[in-house]
């Protein structure tokens, strides 16, 4: 008996709502005399949830007791059972009072030539049938419905029952908040209608404005035809005004996603991922590597043929001696200019691509510390260029040695040779950083590439063409020539110089370093001040 469906075609109510076992001789017109208290109703556990609409062709049980509400199909939702997903809220029209036992008017099928697909019988206004659940979303309204249902079996002079406790299973897992201290439940039921249940009715002429700080200039124009709103629980307007009440702040539950602080190494890892995941990086590096190795092989082959047939090319003996002193690593660095071209393009594109595509916005949204982003990019670019240069130069040295092994100096595995290759890689790195800094400063791809390549290739030509001596002096300090001092030493012909005033490794290092660092610092400061929101 306790597993009865909630509603049957003859309008029986579940047993727990009735004070005692239903009497088969119960008079339909007389209301029940023994009203259960609200406490009684709540103590009895509700039956398990059953689908509301019974099958249409279920014949009514002749032995079943009749209820006071005969002849009406009703859907009933127990007060203790609240669906948890907003889309499945059901409109729960209040049950008919037992006094009005009018049958609904019989529908008259209109005489149409065309068959009507669905005909809705006319319903009297006293029983509102809401088609949209919006009106019944109000928490207050829900409670009023609940009170009506509870009051159905209760004598009229019963006092207003208190609303049920706000216990829902998921609230117990909120985490930090103990039960009872939780603010109003976070359901869509209350999204528009906050405040405590039992909010007093507010007359329409004085809508409560939300208590936000610095309330705006907009004021609704007072209209001449607003009138006092009479009490009407079904209008839905009261719910709207309840929404204007200031609501307690709903704090979000703890996140189940692990999110950590932004640290430099994490940003570095992100930059490395970004560089690796773009095809253009690999293409540029491949071209640079191919150029280096190709140039090394080409020079080796040229030298070999020159040395084997000096008379064919017409070289003097002293030049041939010079060639005899050529080492493998020096051969490898012969194609450095070409590699530097490609490396510069890579450096500029690394930063200007972000500006051009607007990806800088995503980057700076994730990492608002702009200096951290720049430093991470610098480190990433340096490591990439250094390692690529090392590998390709060494392979070029090995291949070149294959050509000039009979004639040149073998320094593939000596400290000197390693110094040359390391110095060359360092030179490439600093040139890449210079190009990166130019891109960072200028922001555009075209401007960046042309400026960087112009500085590397065009300026030395200009300074060498100009007739004055100071032009030549300036030409020594340009980035292209300064960088060559990082790898251009040969123990046999030129001593390894560590002096400041003489051109050598140290001087080359600090001049090239200044070329790279000054625009980098300037670019970082500029990025910090600049508006990046509208790039790309």
């Amino acid at each position: 008996m306790s597993n009865m469906p909630f509603a049957t075609p003859d309008g029986r109510f579940p047993e727990y709502m009735l004070p005692e076992a239903p009497n088969p001789q119960h008079n339909t017109a007389a209301p029940p005399t023994n009203s259960p208290s609200i406490a009684d109703m709540r103590r009895t556990p509700p039956p398990t949830w059953q689908p509301l609409a019974p099958p249409l062709n279920t014949p009514p049980n002749p032995n079943a007791p009749t209820s006071p509400v005969a002849g009406s199909t009703q859907q009933f939702l127990a007060p203790q059972m609240r669906p948890t997903t907003p889309s499945r809220y059901l409109a729960t029209p209040p049950p008919q009072s037992p006094m009005t036992t009018d049958n609904p008017p019989t529908p008259t099928i209109p005489q149409n030539r065309y068959p009507v697909a669905s005909y809705q019988p006319a319903t009297p206004i006293t029983q509102p049938q809401s088609t949209s659940p919006e009106k019944y979303f109000g928490y207050d309204h829900y409670l009023r419905q609940q009170q009506r249902v509870e009051n159905f079996n209760v004598s009229p002079n019963f006092s207003t029952p208190t609303p049920p406790p706000n216990l829902r299973p998921e609230q117990e897992s909120v985490g930090r908040y103990p039960i009872g201290a939780v603010p109003e439940s976070n359901t869509a039921l209350e999204r528009r209608f906050g405040g405590t249940p039992g909010t007093p009715d507010i007359p329409m002429s004085a809508p409560a404005m939300p208590m936000t700080a610095n309330f705006p200039t907009f004021q609704p124009a007072p209209s001449s035809h607003t009138s006092q709103l009479s009490h009407d629980f079904d209008s839905g307007l009261l719910d709207d005004y309840a929404a204007a009440q200031p609501k307690p702040v709903k704090l979000p539950r703890e996140s189940s996603v692990t999110v950590r602080d932004v640290t430099f190494f994490r940003v570095l890892r992100s930059e490395s991922l970004k560089l690796r995941s773009v095809a253009s990086t690999w293409w540029l590096l491949a071209v640079a590597v191919a150029l280096t190795i190709g140039m090394g092989a080409l020079m080796g082959w040229t030298l070999k043929s020159v040395f084997e047939n000096p008379d064919q090319i017409g070289l003097s003996i002293s030049t041939a001696d010079l060639l005899r002193d050529m080492s493998a690593t020096t051969l490898a660095t012969s194609g450095m200019q070409f590699m530097q071209l490609i490396i510069m393009i890579l450096g500029v594109l690394y930063i200007t691509n972000e500006y051009a595509t607007g990806a800088v916005r995503a980057t700076l949204t994730a990492v608002p510390k702009r200096s951290m982003v720049v430093i991470a990019k610098v480190v990433n670019l340096s490591v990439t260029v250094f390692l690529t240069s090392l590998a390709s130069l060494y392979v070029a040295a090995l291949i070149g040695w294959g050509f000039i092994s009979k004639y040149g100096v073998d320094d593939r595995f000596t400290l000197q040779g390693l110094r040359v290759i390391a110095g060359a890689s360092l030179a490439n790195t600093l040139i890449a950083l210079f190009a990166f800094a130019v891109g960072l400063l200028l922001g555009s791809t075209v401007g960046g590439i042309s400026s960087a390549l112009g500085t590397l290739l065009v300026l030395p030509i200009i300074t060498s063409v100009l007739p004055w001596s100071w032009a030549t002096r300036i030409g020594e300090y340009l980035i292209g020539s300064a960088a060559t001092w990082l790898y251009n030493f040969n123990e046999i012909t030129l001593p390894l110089s560590w002096q400041w005033n003489e051109w050598g490794f140290l001087k080359g290092l600090w001049v090239t370093g200044i070329w790279a660092l000054v625009p980098l610092i300037a670019g970082t400061i500029m990025l910090g001040k600049r508006d990046v929101g509208s790039f790309g």
Partner: protein
């Protein structure tokens, strides 16, 4: 919670945002409305620290954006879905952003699944359609499970399923207690999603008001009534302060009385009512009325457009 205090942005002589002071509260969806060029995107960029304000401050959860230690966990933003490298796949893009915060790759997969990008996650982002790109932008915004969401035109280019999904998503997130700051030009969607409205025009704040108040303020009190006894009803209801307009042979529009009063009156006189609809304006009408004078870039009326007609 987003707060701005006298936020101002000037580009030379033009003031894009003029001393804006707003509060975006948690637990509800706040719609950010305004005509084109009103300064909505500029405001959102200033909140995220992408643009520097000329004066004033903007703070998220009490701190300026640059001071946040886990920005993606505090704020998730979709300002421009195209803010990515088109040669990169969506998965790589999401992973690179996740790496900055030490977020696991499982979360990346989760977010790809959530936004329905599973089948296209390994294609280059440049090949995405408008809707897919928009979904990727939403995925980026949700990556760090943020407490605040700032979405600029999230339904731009989405199919109806996507529009419905975004609507339900922002609703769900607001119910969880998050702050949702939504800007859109689609009034019908805004009407369904937003609880609170912040309206901007020419850089100035026009209104910060709840949706229901806004519509109620722009609505006339009245109802559309349809009844077989409509003439008697019209005569009965006529009184000073009430205006009645005839719509059809059995329908009138009554201005000045609430639907409740009309229904009660009809019940007292036993006139059956076939329709009783309270009058409300749509958000679109209310908004256009309010910003009528404040629209900077207005389209011309095309009544006099004498262009080519179609084929016969």
């Amino acid at each position: 919670m987003i707060q701005t205090k006298s936020l101002t942005k000037r580009y030379g002589k033009t003031t894009a945002v003029d001393s804006l002071t707003i509060t975006v509260e948690p637990g509800k969806v706040t719609g950010f409305l305004g005509p084109n060029g009103a300064g909505k995107s500029t405001t959102m960029r200033m909140i995220l620290g992408l643009d520097h304000a000329t004066s004033g401050t903007a703070s998220v959860n009490g701190h300026p954006y640059a001071a946040l230690r886990r920005p993606l966990h505090e704020v998730g933003a979709l300002l421009d879905a195209r803010a990515l490298n088109p040669d990169r796949t969506a998965r790589a893009h999401l992973r690179s952003l996740a790496a900055t915060h030490g977020i696991n790759y499982s979360r990346v997969e989760e977010v790809i699944e959530l936004t329905g990008l599973r089948s296209v996650a390994d294609r280059k982002a440049g090949s995405y359609s408008l809707g897919m790109g928009q979904r990727l932008g939403i995925a980026v915004a949700l990556l760090g499970d943020p407490k605040t969401l700032i979405l600029d035109e999230p339904v731009n280019g989405l199919d109806p399923e996507g529009v419905r999904w975004v609507r339900d998503l922002v609703r769900h997130l607001a119910d969880l207690g998050k702050t949702v700051f939504l800007s859109s030009h689609l009034m019908s969607e805004m009407e369904l999603s937003a609880d609170h409205l912040i309206i901007l025009a020419k850089g100035k704040l026009l209104a910060s008001i709840s949706m229901t108040d806004f519509i109620a303020a722009a609505s006339d009190v009245g109802a559309k009534v349809r009844s077989p006894h409509i003439s008697e009803m019209a005569n009965w209801l006529k009184q000073p302060g009430v205006r009645i307009e005839r719509l059809a042979s059995d329908a009138i529009e009554v201005y000045g009385l609430t639907a409740t009063q009309i229904g009660d009156a009809a019940a007292k006189q036993s006139w059956p009512l076939h329709e009783l609809t309270p009058l409300t304006v749509s958000l679109e009408d209310a908004y256009l009325e309010l910003t009528n004078s404040a629209t900077e870039y207005r389209s011309e009326s095309f009544d006099n457009y004498a262009g080519q007609g179609g084929q016969r």
